[in-house]
Assembly symmetry: C2
Homo-oligomer: 160 residues x 2
DNA sequence: ATTAATCGGATATCTTGTGTCCGATATAAT
DNA sequence: ATTATATCGGACACAAGATATCCGATTAAT
């Protein structure tokens, strides 16, 4: 069970977008360059985010991706759902309904499925409770002035 | 991100083993037959459980697999760890350390990794909190007398 | 000692994730 | 208005992990 690297890539990319002024975006190539990631693959993942409504795409010269909503309204879960889909990691195939001793009264989920449901609900709850705004604020708080200057300069190049 | 079906298969298989008297086991073929599952593939998964110390294998005629510990000391998490490994679904590759604006003070995990750590800790906590004994007890409570008789007869065949 | 049953690891197939490329489209410059 | 350039979007290859099987090694029963 491995989560796609795309989640990590886009989470960091969206954190960068959240640090930008409202309405301002960056092309996928710049988002990839910011962490030295494969541009084409990053582009593919950003497409998934756009389809899911997390970011908006602007085509043509000077275009790129920008957040489709305020950063406080985008959770880490939203990013996972966009990249990985909403389906749960554990998928009950109802094997209890098969076999020599299978019964017939199966309206409720089996005990094993129930455990996984509870666990995955707790997992999603944590992921939903943190927004891009929270992350961006925390990152900003920890950023040194030197790095902040570096970032400003890099952004000027890219936004010019 | 998909969890292996082996987790579902072996969770149900272990639930069956937990219902047996202490020290008694069943061959992999019987565990598969109980839910009409592919015997060879079930065998492979049971091997993983044996390697992880969740079950013990007994070779030769009359052998099979039995729980290696009391059912109350085996959690759902132990089964996942055996089948899937202990590694977390989200794997931080420290992309923040790369790129034109990468800094140098990276002793602590980044904000994004922290969120995933918290979420996965909550997930594992739920899975660790439920033992095979809990599941077996709940299943037993819900089992009708008719099905219990079915099970008893099937077991007599298999244990004979 | 022989036979039969069972585990254990090596092997093959298939789905999913990883990664790239080129056409479609919109912007900016001329 | 036209052209050239930048950018997204989906179609297309490749690699990795999950799925599934088979046969040899080992052990108990006969």
């Amino acid at each position: 069970m491995k989560m796609s690297e795309g989640v990590e890539w886009t989470a960091h990319a969206c954190t960068l977008l959240a640090a930008l002024p409202h309405g301002v975006g960056l092309p996928a190539a710049a988002l990839a360059e910011f962490h030295y990631l494969a541009p084409a693959y990053m582009a593919k993942h950003m497409q998934a985010l756009a389809r899911a409504g997390v970011v908006e795409s602007v085509r043509g010269a000077g275009g790129g991706y920008r957040l489709a909503k305020p950063a406080k309204d985008i959770s880490v879960w939203d990013i996972i759902a966009a990249i990985e889909g909403e389906e749960a990691p554990f998928r009950c195939t109802e094997i209890r309904q098969k076999g020599p001793c299978a019964g017939t009264d199966f309206r409720k989920p089996c005990e094993i499925t129930s455990v996984f449901r509870r666990a995955e609900t707790a997992w999603r709850a944590e992921l939903k409770s943190v927004s891009l705004a929270d992350i961006a604020a925390e990152v900003g708080r920890k950023t040194t002035p030197a790095r902040r200057a570096q970032l400003t300069q890099w952004l000027q190049e890219k936004l010019a």
